[in-house]
Subunit: 252 residues, 2 copies
């Protein structure tokens, strides 16, 4: 069975891309067949996994021109991990898709074609609740929500939950939150504990045991085009995402 997992949170800079890239790579490292889809026009996951976002075809051609995903996949530095690059053109797709037929389910149709080839599909979403993120949520079985342990990130979580409910009612009844991941966790900061407690209360039982501490290696890895398990395999960042991968696989 293929598990399709969106990594989404409309709050910016909470660690969505870092989580999608690190998690996809850690799950592939443990022997599974994994596909990473970058549906953010910023194309950060594309460069974070070492691909060129000017290379075509990519996710834009899949969503707007109906290209099959199999024609856009590329191999990566991690064995078992394939990826489909995003590109800057995708920024135009949000407006182009508004008037298209079945605009929210374009990605779902494309992903359903490739499910037989993969155990896991991870989708890195942009920091908004527009048509691209709606496509990501509609195509997915599960949702991982990275939450930075700070005040503004906490505010957005209730809005995200509302959106998930809307998607479940109208577009994808099977969508479930598979877990909230606390990122950039700093055990010494009072604010971190306050936010973590708040999140654990409102998502009781659905918060990953593993927290991802702030670790400069995670911020350095993308400048080398490498996922953390290839850049610094023994860093606290790599260990944390291996532990998250183990929890995620165990939650099937």
């Amino acid at each position: 069975v293929c598990r399709v997992i969106a990594v989404a949170n409309q709050k910016g800079g909470v660690g969505k891309t870092t989580t999608a890239v690190s998690l996809a790579s850690a799950v592939a490292e443990s022997g599974h067949k994994v596909l990473l889809l970058d549906i953010d026009p910023q194309a950060n996951a594309t460069s974070g996994i070492g691909l060129d976002h000017r290379s075509a075809p990519g996710i834009y051609e899949v969503l707007v021109d109906g290209l099959s995903l199999t024609h856009a996949v590329m191999s990566t530095v991690q064995e078992g991990l394939l990826a489909v690059p995003s590109s800057i053109d995708l920024a135009g797709a949000e407006i182009e898709l508004v008037t298209a037929m079945s605009r929210e389910t374009k990605l779902k149709m494309a992903v359903n074609e490739v499910r037989p080839f993969f155990d896991y599909v991870f989708i890195d979403c942009p920091p908004s609740l527009g048509l691209l993120t709606l496509n990501g949520l509609t195509a997915s079985d599960e949702l991982v929500i990275p939450v930075q342990c700070e005040f503004y990130a906490l505010e957005g979580v209730s809005k995200l939950r509302e959106t998930v409910d809307l998607v479940k009612t109208n577009l994808n009844p099977g969508l479930e939150i598979s877990g909230v991941l606390l990122t950039m966790y700093d055990g010494r900061a009072k604010l971190t504990e306050q936010v973590a407690n708040e999140v654990r209360k409102s998502f009781a039982g659905n918060v990953f045991e593993t927290v991802v501490n702030r670790n400069v290696r995670l911020a350095e890895a993308p400048s080398h085009g490498l996922p953390i398990n290839k850049y610094q395999p023994k860093s606290s960042g790599a260990l944390a995402y291996r532990a998250v991968a183990k929890e995620l696989i165990g939650r099937a």
Copy 2:
């Protein structure tokens, strides 16, 4: 003369809201009449300045219903600073505006009406290059670009510059970049220096001298609904934003 300044960068979590709120408050503290507009559906600047984002009317009514800004302004804890709140409804405005007449200039028309009452107007933009940010860039004379000193934030800067050129050619010929602000600066981290050098090279002469160091007080302030100069007036964050305000006022 009223200076209208957008604070924008499509990369998420780089310090746009922290900059808009802190800078607006510091400029008001130094005796100027200031208006803060929150055009992000996340409404972080609204709660960061202590307003309620469920209160109506707000920026949604201005953009979609044509309400005058004067009917939406609210006073804040900082003397000389008024603000117009955002709300979650604004997320729908992007799709609603797509088919509207002169959709990119709605905010510009509203802002031009209130210029006589203010010395500075700051506009906090969402992390995307959609219609809301386009409205912000079209309404503005200047643009302040916060850049977090990390790799992904660097990647987005060239795309932002392209968008600014497009806006200048098609919608707002007078738009100028008034400065790039380096945020969450950590002098000990190699990555910070690498990114800072890259930014100073590509924006020669247009980077604020002041850098804003990572300072936990800045992350704590919004949970109290206070700008940093009211929450911890002697913190390094408050001092940094006072220095940025001074530079900005001097750059007229």
